[in-house]
């Protein structure tokens, strides 16, 4: 009697439990599947416009007008790319891409060097008004480009640097300093000082310590700065628009803006857009870790 009783108890006790566990499992699975479906369909919203511009760049205008998502007829063409690359003949997009490279490389490395020196000074030395000065420099980050552009426009004309890359590079340099100094000072202040102190005792000068010890140790931070600053300068439109006027000197953002005229051939505009945006996208994917770290660190502490 006792045996059967125990087994019925066991059955009674176990059955609902097993059921519950299975139900729970099924529910968890349902939620996981739901989350996956939701996430992937949300991501479609971000993928589709990019897909559209890629499709438009390789299809003739008649097919784009019918909707790039219709594939009844599909005649891939590279006409958009060749047209965008070579037109207008006096100042083609190919020239503008080269110009952007010529502007972006010095506008990336000059401010990083200047900011590193300044940030090192803020991080390692005590001097009167240091914290106030640092706060002032950091606050300049929030200044809109429009607040300086009229005086900068006249200044560059007066010193012969208007419509000249040197002027544009100097303005980009100055505007990059506040956030780069903030970023680098935060990085320098977590570097161990012992190595620097030892080098100092051995008789190394501050400048030597700076470029022999501090800069090499800071390469990860500098990689973030290079990625972000190059993309920032490449993407800039406002400073270029106001400081560069000659068609043959125009940078990539100006050139793609002028492809986009009153009557739009989407095939050419899409191809030009891809040529111009492929550079920052490539840098982002190549240096993704540094890029994202720069955005997060720069803003979390900013």
């Amino acid at each position: 009697m006792s045996k059967t009783k125990i087994s019925t108890w066991l059955k009674r006790a176990k059955r609902p439990n097993i059921k519950k566990t299975f139900a729970k499992l099924r529910r968890v699975k349902k939620i996981t599947i739901l989350i996956h479906v939701l996430a992937w369909s949300a991501s479609l919203i971000w993928i589709i416009p990019f897909l559209g511009v890629v499709m438009a760049s390789i299809r003739p205008m008649q097919e784009i007008v019918n909707g790039w998502w219709n594939f009844d007829v599909f005649t891939p063409t590279l006409r958009g790319f060749t047209e965008a690359w070579t037109s207008p003949p006096d100042a083609p997009l190919s020239r503008a891409i080269l110009n952007s490279i010529l502007v972006a490389i010095p506008s990336t490395f000059i401010p990083i060097l200047i900011a590193a020196l300044g940030a090192y000074s803020f991080a390692r030395f005590k001097f009167p008004t240091r914290d106030l000065l640092f706060l002032a420099v950091v606050l300049l980050q929030t200044i809109p480009q429009q607040m300086v552009i009229i005086p900068v426009f006249f200044l560059t004309i007066r010193i012969g640097l208007w419509n000249n890359y040197l002027g544009l590079i100097l303005v980009h340099t100055a505007f990059a300093l506040p956030w780069q100094i903030l970023f680098l000072r935060n990085f320098f202040s977590i570097l161990p000082v012992e190595v620097e102190e030892a080098a100092r005792i051995d008789g190394a000068s501050y400048l030597k310590i700076f470029y022999k010890i501090v800069l090499p140790l800071s390469l990860p931070a500098i990689a973030s700065l290079i990625a972000l600053q190059f993309v920032w300068v490449w993407n800039d439109f406002f400073f270029a628009l106001t400081l560069i006027a000659s068609p043959e000197l125009r940078v990539a953002t100006q050139a793609v803006a002028s492809l986009h005229g009153r009557f739009i051939d989407w095939n050419i505009v899409a191809a030009g857009s891809i040529i111009v945006m492929i550079v920052p996208i490539a840098i982002y994917f190549a240096l993704q870790r540094y890029y994202v770290r720069g955005i997060v660190a720069g803003s979390v502490k900013g």
Binding site: I35, I114, L133, L170, V256, A257, I295
Partner: protein, 299 residues
Amino acid sequence: MRLSRTATPLLFLIPTLLMLTVFVLFPIVNTIYLSLVDKQGEFVGLGNYEQIFNDDAFWNPQNLAEGKPPPYGALIHNGIWILVHLPLSIFSGLLLAVLLRDVKGGAIIKSIVFLGMVIPLIVGGILLRFIYVEDAGIVNGFLRTVGLGSFARTWTAYPETILLALIFGTVWIWTGFSMIVYSAGLEGIPTELFEAAKIDGASSWRTFWRITIPMLKPATIVVVTMTVLWELKIFDIVWIIQQGGPQNASMVMTLLMFLQAFLYQRQAQNYHTASAIATMLTLLTIGFAAYMVYRMVKS
């Protein structure tokens, strides 16, 4: 040559201070000065500011009060931008950050969403214009597919629709930022907190509101600050799509400033009202940033 401990910091700072003084500080002071004088160089106090508030392109609340479609003026448009874009982009960024944490391929989706922050805003504007075009735009293609084809139109061509079309489009562009900052914030929350909540039998809904959201407050302050500054400074997208038109319906402060200073002809061109707009914009950005930093320090 060995430099002393007092001379070195100064020497290291000289290039920074020189560049900032010539290309940032002096121009700021000069812009403020320009905003206070007229074309003859006579001091006019706040006259230029009065003038921009009398300009319909900058300040036109009548349409809003009468419930008419835009233009409401650049200042109000920037305000609407903040009111609509800020909650939407924060919410979608937070949602994606939370969802994508446990999704297979989440890292890939994050990279794609973040592309909006990587591409030039000029190209971002072209992409937006393309999705809204009447025949070739995917938005209208979608409307036709779901049977709302009668609504299909070039959304960026009409004063009634362009402002909201651009605002929603910039949510698409900017969501990557809040997503990335919130993702970093989520990683910073110690897992013990969630485990303790689980042991106490808290539901995941409750855990989200009682642990995740409060722990993300620093991230939220950052996202709000940077997003509002971005909304106030928006320029490229508006420029490339309609240059503030049609009929000023997408005009924003930065663009009006640029048009008055550099593009208007003869009589309409005015460095002084343009400087007044720039100064107001700067007061808004600095004021807001200072307020948020103050809140951050306080908490």
